[in-house]
């Protein structure tokens, strides 16, 4: 079993969680901004727009018929992906009130599995061609699933930060037993 971090104070946990939360929030806002920026740049700077669409292509099929439009062009990701990212942002907004910054713990697995059912059913139904859900429904089930994700992401990254800081500090140095104390008779004899 990996060597665990020693019990840490609330202050140490806050020092780890707050920067992780801030960076995650900034990254999420930048990510969502880029999704909306791509269609905005279509008519103004096609090369920049093409770069942004290509940037999101590894994580999304970007099929126009399954994407919302903005400024007359499809967003850089599909409706389901946009829902997940929007839900992630909503989860970040909720995080400080629901969890605070002084403790890190994982949500119950049951809750995750429960919130995964709608998005799982929606995908499965479309995959086997039972139904073709509208973009709005894809967005909604994606958002429902995305709300819980920050509670996992921040917990995992914060724990890595705590591991790192505890390894940097190292163990408390033990007192040297070969050097007598200042008021020790042994020191007086030496002097």
């Amino acid at each position: 079993m990996r060597e665990r971090i020693p019990p840490t104070s609330e202050a140490a946990v806050r020092r780890a969680v707050i920067p992780v939360f801030a960076l995650t929030l900034a990254g999420t806002l930048a990510w969502l901004s880029a999704i909306f920026l791509a269609p905005c740049l279509k008519s103004r700077s096609p090369a920049a727009a093409a770069f942004l669409y290509s940037f999101f292509s590894p994580v999304c099929h970007q099929i126009p018929g399954r994407s919302f439009t903005f400024d007359g062009y499809p967003l850089a990701v599909c409706g389901r992906c946009l829902g997940i990212y929007a839900g992630f942002l909503a989860g970040l907004v909720i995080y400080p009130f629901a969890r605070g910054f002084s403790r890190i713990s994982l949500p119950p697995a049951r809750l995750f599995l429960l919130l995964s059912v709608p998005v799982g059913l929606d995908f499965a139904g479309g995959f086997v061609r039972i139904w073709a859900s509208p973009i709005g429904l894809r967005f909604a089930v994606g958002a429902l699933w995305g709300i819980l994700l920050p509670f996992y992401f921040i917990t995992g990254v914060s724990e890595l930060v705590l591991w790192r800081s505890s390894r940097k500090k190292g163990p408390e140095p033990s007192p040297r037993i070969d050097e007598p104390a200042l008021d020790s008779p042994r020191r007086k004899n030496i002097e």
Binding site: R2, A50, Y53, P64, G65, R80, C81, L149, G156, E159
Partner: protein, 171 residues
Amino acid sequence: MNNRKPEYLVPALIAGAVSGALSGIPFVNCLCCLWIIGGAVLASFLLARNTAGPLTAGDGAIVGALTGIVAAVIDSLISVPLRPVNAVFLRRIMDSLARFSDQMPAQWQELMQRNSAGGFSVSGFLFGLFFSAAIFAVLGVLGGVIGVSIFGRKKTPASPLPSQGPPDATA
């Protein structure tokens, strides 16, 4: 107490190869980023199975990030020869839709061009690999931590009681 560190690499290689391959295969890759998250969950499952004792969120984050990076490499390698197949697949979708609509949206044509444009270039491949690895690593962290919450919480087995030896003869 067994202080052996979890072995992150093998689960990450296995799960990353699976999720990277699924991300790159046409039609199957419609699950978008969820393949990477699912792959990282699989990596956590494999890690939990091969590790004595419970795992922590940090363990999930590490194995998930490694899974994402492996998946990015596999996906990038698979996408190179499958690019024409992707274009053919999209063309078939467009042809079927064109039978039922008078005018195809302009975005479809552009999507086709984007997926079939240009040949292979090393710089483009490395550029794409770099960004894919960064994005997939973040998604992998998420999936790894989710996987640990589902599979990694095990009770530490209780240590056996020390056997009661004979009393010390010198006491």
